[in-house]
Every structure is written in structure tokens, then in C-alpha cells.
Symmetry: C2
Subunit: 353 residues, 2 copies
Amino acid sequence: MPDLRLPKTIAWVGGLDGQVELVDQTLLPGELKMLACRDVEAIREAIVSLRVRGAPAIGVAAAMGLVLGVRDAADADSDGFWARLRETRERLASARPTAVNLCWALERMEALAQRLADRPVAEIKQALLDEARRIRDEDAEMCRKIGQAGQHLIRENTGVLTHCNAGSLATAEYGTALALLYAAHERGRRFRVYADETRPLLQGSRLTAWELSRAGIDVTVLCDNAAGELMREGRIQTVVTGADRIVANGDTANKIGTYSVAVIARAHGIPFYVAAPSSTFDFSTSDGAKIPIEHRSGDEVRAGFGRLTAPAEVPVYSPAFDVTPASLISGIVTERGVIDPVGPENIRDFFGL
Amino acid sequence: MPDLRLPKTIAWVGGLDGQVELVDQTLLPGELKMLACRDVEAIREAIVSLRVRGAPAIGVAAAMGLVLGVRDAADADSDGFWARLRETRERLASARPTAVNLCWALERMEALAQRLADRPVAEIKQALLDEARRIRDEDAEMCRKIGQAGQHLIRENTGVLTHCNAGSLATAEYGTALALLYAAHERGRRFRVYADETRPLLQGSRLTAWELSRAGIDVTVLCDNAAGELMREGRIQTVVTGADRIVANGDTANKIGTYSVAVIARAHGIPFYVAAPSSTFDFSTSDGAKIPIEHRSGDEVRAGFGRLTAPAEVPVYSPAFDVTPASLISGIVTERGVIDPVGPENIRDFFGL
């Protein structure tokens, strides 16, 4: 099997007195640099500044951040420990308000602590570190399974379009959408990936192109607005993206631009797949119209590269996500298999609900 | 009527010993600076480096460049003058090989010179300067007429999406697609323009947003990939773009991304208009599949902002144009009126062919 040279996106190094080490993704593709975080504020800053991004990777970062927040609490002061835990949790939860995995990871960590509430503080701390590492390892394992479940969709000698970065860098490792590509590549299949640049933050050209190229996968970058032309030219046979949230009827929120790609793919009869762990499903929301859309600062568009690319006084409309309706999605690849067709009944059946 | 504060995109200042002055568009929106060109190489460099861009404006620049090239030829040496004319023409024609208006303007200038071939060189030179100024003035007049012909398509309290810059800066003044907006604005109509950023060279956010905002028109910038989301939100009622070439059946080549916008607009039932002077029509080409697509350097994508935004070793696929099929175009606005529906018979009838 080829060595994929997957980056160590995020890891806890050492024991309880150790540190979190993560790839500073703002420096890619120019420089692969590990950032060491030894306290909550360092982790929070890394999340806020998108040094670590991607829902699953943020979840891991938050879990490890919680450990950093409580490890220095005095073992003899139980009240102090619990106060520190609450404080740390709030501090981390506010880093990116709409990130579902962030809250999910913090809730899981706190629930574990609650279950051990009658044990010595030192023991709870160690259990929290073990749990944070488990969250990371489970995510890596889940991504492998997504790849296995969906690799057959990546056929020999085809072109595959992806948008944003749903890869190793967005997860503990291996990715979600890119997991299909890694798994197909590991099986010796040849194909060409087209990576949408993904304005405004260019996760496609900066991150997806970087990690696929490093893994030895044939990848070409395009501007977002060229996707239609590439489809017309017959260069793309499959589209696969990640997901930030999938609701009960299969409507899927993902990085801005995903919806446009899905509409254009449909117009060309090209299948459009979403790949995501089952934890991405939000069964409490009935349809995509109810998903709140985060908006980003116009300065990411105006001055994202150090020079002014739009007049300072002109407003910028910059939704961070859009919603692709289930009707445009050919299938959703999860760690348990592929949901196809995508609709509320089939999703309920798939999860045995 | 509101003062539109239209930039003086390109003008000949002074007599035959004068100079060409043009807006250096590479410095916008940060700085409005006029560049003075006193010889052919200066004009050529301005065209090659996109300091002046937009098919009509390039035509004017080429015509004026031809004058700069021949004005210093000795009046007493007729052979020398004609040699200089040919040389200058070739030098300018190679500046941007696919720009139709560039060749059209040079041919018109040379044809005029040929008609005056038995006159003194000094007289031909002056006639060429007059012709170059006429090309500029005719273009400005044509743009006004396009605006008048299509302004009714821009309705009160609607949202209008445009792609790239088909405005004052792309023409002698007033623009083609943006002429509709200027004409509607001059009539007191209120509407909001959404300007696609237009990767890779950002003509939408840098130029369209700048000139519309300066004219007092409500304009908002979006990333190209957000157009679908804005349409889904009901923010856009009309799309209007320019055209680089319209062939016999109505298929239209325009800036990369236009095709994607047209596909998405159709999916939302939003009318998609093209605005262009009738000189943009190429009746010798039957359909869009026969239009050659210019490709641009990947470095415009990779390093357009002064830092590396894609790995240096990863290829970039960067078509400069795409072709929107006539079937997706609701109407073509010309200086003679609106062609609607768009199809080969109707186009022939419209032009009395």
C-alpha cells in the first residue's frame, strides 16, 4: 500500500503534563509547522484563528483543550476542579458557536467526569485525558470506515471534484470525503481529483491540494467558478464533499459553494455524494431551511491576502455555509455504509430509528 | 440625474504630439491612478498586464497605440511610414491573441490608412488620430444605447447579480452589462447589485464594486461560490453579464464562471441576460463548441495575492472563459434593442441577415 504521508493533524503528546500538538493550517501550503498548545487559551486561539478547523478535528481539539484546562487544578480541591471544568468548557464552547462537534466533544467529556464524580480528582483528570485520546482515535477509525464504505464510488480513470477540505486536516486523520479517495488510492485505483479553490479561505487549494499531492494522488486546482466548465468538458464523473450537518430529511449543510456545485452537477447528470460520520446527523432538525447559516467577516474576502481586493466601503455578503437539499444528493457515505437514495424514511431505516 | 463619476478609462490627451492616458486597473480598488503612455510598448505592456482590459477598452487602446506607433515616422518617408504601421500593428495584435476587438480596431485603423494612401503622411497620421478618437467616442455612445435598450430589465427593489466587470472600466465609458444598471439608476430606480468576486483576477470585487459604488449604486460583493445560496435566499431576481464573443446560434463566451451562474440561475427560474454591442457577434462561427478557450497561467491562482495559496507543484486548470449556451440566455441586449428569444433564426432576423 502506498504511504499516504498523512499529517498528524492533532495529537496529545506525553502524559498528563504533556501538550497538544497540531498542524498550524494557516501556514499551509507554504510551511508544515506543528503548534504546541499547553493551555486552554492556546487551543481556543487555534480554533478561533482556524489553525485547526474541520468539525471532527475541532471536536478533538476541544476535548484535549478541556484536559489542558483542568490538569493544573489542585487535586485536593474538588470544588475548584469542577469550577475549572465548567469555566473551561464555556471558554471552549464559545470558540466557534456553530460547530456541532465542538459541543458534542465537550458534552462527552463532561459526562465522563460526572460519571466519575465520586472518584479522586487526579483519577478524573487521567480519565479525561484517556477519553480525549479515545475521541481522536475513534475519529481516525471512523474515517477509515467511511473510506472503506465509499471507495467503490471512485472509479478507475475518472475525474472527481471536491470542494473545501474534508480531509486528514479536517479530522483526526484520513478525512471524510477525502477518505474515499485515500481508500481508492490504497487499492491502486487511478483517478484525477479536481480541488475547488474554495473562497474565501481557500481550504481547497491550500489544504486539499496539499494533502492529496503529498499522498501521491493526482490533484489539480481550479477556481470555484470553473466547476461548470470542467463538467461541460467531461472532466468530472463524480463529486464528493464533506458535511457540517445533515438533518432528518437528508438536507446537508456544508461549506459555502457546495450547493452551487450540487446544482451544476445535477444539470450535467453527475452524481453528487456527501461523506460524513453518522455523528454529523442532527435528527432533531427536520429540514435544511431550519439550519442557521453562520456569516463570516467581509474582511476575509476584502483583505484575505494582505492587499485590498474590494473597496473598503462596499459590503460583503459572506455566508460560511449553504444547504444542499437531499434531492440533489445521490448518496451519503457514512462509516456504516452508503445511504442511497437520500430521504427521511431511508435515513430513519438506515439508523434503525 | 445623478453624477455617475465614471472613470476616464482611456483617452487621447492633446494633439498628435499628445499621449494616451488610461486608468491603471491593476491598482484598483486601492488607488485611482492614470497611466500616461507615450509609445507603443507602453500601450502593449498595459494590455498584456491587464492595466487596461475589457474587449471594447482594449480596442480603443490598440487604435490609440497604433497612432503612438506611427506618429514619429518621418513625414517625408512614405515607405518608412507604412513599414512602421505594419510593425506597430503586429506588435499590438500579439498583446492578447484572443481579443476580437483588438484585431477589429487595428483592421479599421489600417483600412482607413489604406483609403488615404495617396495623401501626405502627415495627413494620414492626423486622420488616424481622429479615427482612434472616433472609435472611443462611438464605443461610449454604443454603451449608452445598450443601457437605454436594456434598463427596463432592472426593476425597482430587485437584486441583480453580475459577474466580472462589463462596466465603464471595460469600455470607453458606461459599460455593457453595467450600462443597464447605470441607465436604471439615472432614471431613479432603486435596486441592489451583487457583484461576483470573479476569481482569479477579481474584476468583480476590484472593479465592478468600485465603479458602481462610486456611482452611488447599492452594491455588495460575494464570493463566486455563494451565488447559488443568494439565489436560494431570494436575493437575486435578474442576472446580467457582458460577453466576449457571441456566435451565430447565440452561444456566448464570457469570463469563466458565467456558465455556472447561468446554470444556477436557470435552476432557480431567474432570467439571465447578456449585454454587448452588436460588434461582439461572430456570425462566422456556428456554435459555442467551436470557440477556442484561452487558458491562463496557474500562477494567477496560486500566487495572485503575493503569497502561495496552492502548492507550487500542483497543477492549476484555469480557463479564462466559458461558453453559455443560448438555451440558458433569456435575452441579449444590444445597442439596437433586445434579442429575445435567443436562437439562430431570431438573431439573423434581428440583424436583417
